[in-house]
Symmetry: C2
Amino acid sequence: MAATFFQAVMRSSLRDFEAARARMGANVMPTPLLHLDWSGQRCIRLKAENLQPLGSFKIRCGSNVIGLLDAESARRGLVTVSAGNFAQGLALAANRRGVPVIAHVPEGAPAVKVKKLRSLGVTVVHQSPTEWWRIASTRDTCGSDGTFVHPVCDPSVVHGNGVIALELAEQWPQIDTVVVPFGGGGLATGIAMAFRALGKPVRIVACEVEGSAALSAARLADTPVTIEHQRSFVDGIGSSRVLDEMWPVARALVNDVIVVSVQEVKDALRTIVSRHHMVVEGAGAAALAAAVSARCGGTNVAAILSGGNIDPAVLCSILCESTGEGESA
Amino acid sequence: MAATFFQAVMRSSLRDFEAARARMGANVMPTPLLHLDWSGQRCIRLKAENLQPLGSFKIRCGSNVIGLLDAESARRGLVTVSAGNFAQGLALAANRRGVPVIAHVPEGAPAVKVKKLRSLGVTVVHQSPTEWWRIASTRDTCGSDGTFVHPVCDPSVVHGNGVIALELAEQWPQIDTVVVPFGGGGLATGIAMAFRALGKPVRIVACEVEGSAALSAARLADTPVTIEHQRSFVDGIGSSRVLDEMWPVARALVNDVIVVSVQEVKDALRTIVSRHHMVVEGAGAAALAAAVSARCGGTNVAAILSGGNIDPAVLCSILCESTGEGESA
């Protein structure tokens, strides 16, 4: 299975990404690329995926998955395993085509996300974290009816996410570096592979947050290892382990990893709110935190603001904290 | 003078707006048009001018004014009268061309705006509110050196603002109504006149906030009247009187006015933050509040989110208030 996913991703052609783009249609908005207002050496721009319907890039891969379904699979429906954002993106696209969706979500998933899934007609199945991770690792849903769609390790997901790179290449031909939040790995590898398919040498920098830097750990060991995952408000990225299927793809396509602190993420979030008038979730702010850090390098750097789904109370508490030095960057 | 401004605006051609668009160059971002996530009858979209550099549409008119300057005027510099946003837009464009700017600002203008003006190289002159209003009404700056640029009653300002309509017509050919926050009137009349120049019958709905609805008062009396202006957090629009020069233009070009309550503006602001992951100032949220109100009408309605410059403490206090019924719209 791992070899199949790896091979499918690595032999992706530009046509795969262009076809994914065509499939997205009106579900997806080509997102703006804002010039970061700062005085640093690098030119940094912000790819505002937080402005997508439902507030994250996941509508891109969801639309591609749904667009690829044959009539029989569409009738039978889909099963996925997602903490929320992917299931939402899938569900929104599925809803428009009348495709039933079952989502296995971990116990403790934010109530607001579960409520949103139900409002989109999704059948929600709660699982213990252990069982949820087992499903994500094995694709064995114990008999849930329908075609299984993996939220990250699926070529159609990778192709949907990679459309962001097609837009970036058009919006900023001089781009040389892209900083991508690393959760399951589907976003970073999709963007990386699309730049390869375009024949455009762009450095792919993954970003993680201290306490949940599973990719950094895997790179150090040159194999996925299980780490102790410390929770923070940055809930959209980070895990206790890189999926075995994703590892060879990430290993081949990601050039660098930057691990930022929770404090740096908060500073970046305040900058985005106060200077660019957008709301981002921790994962999105992490990309900016990595892009402004001395470790980043590059001349023309795009940071992917992957999503905007942050709890309003958390947002307020971060905005009200006194700003650190990083905010004045 | 009034007749001259009126005539200049009313005989604007499509070429004036297209030339303004060409002059803007890289200073200005064509802003995205987001689909409002709501269950109401009308289709509503959000024109996100809050994402512009410096957080407001004012960079559009500022860039057009600067682009039109001859070399001698550019050398002598400009003088304006502005509470902040227009002066900022003008200053950013001026800064890039090395044009000196003097801004007369009212005492009590937010310190953060004054600081930003100074950082852009502007010479700031504080005036009492009475004297400030006298300058805005008479254009007599008591000998400040340079060419006077009025923040709203200037054809090049109107043409710069009208470029928003060119973008809207391309982004949404089916648009039939546009809701525009009404401050000095330069934004609403610019958009209105550009739609006229395009030969596109789009209804122009101005929006005001209760307690500072000077346009509504002028329409009722069919002449500008002075009202008692109640301050609220919605500081970007509303005044105690429509400028005499602006009145005939607004009278000719604005089809309807909707006055919204401060509570409706807060509800709209929460919707924009939580569902669309953007930060807007009160004036921008007011446009959405008017667009979702039963008084609006129309089938395909664009709300102009004019700016995003809101004090973080004010934003937090609004986000933390319990949401009213309007938020569930």
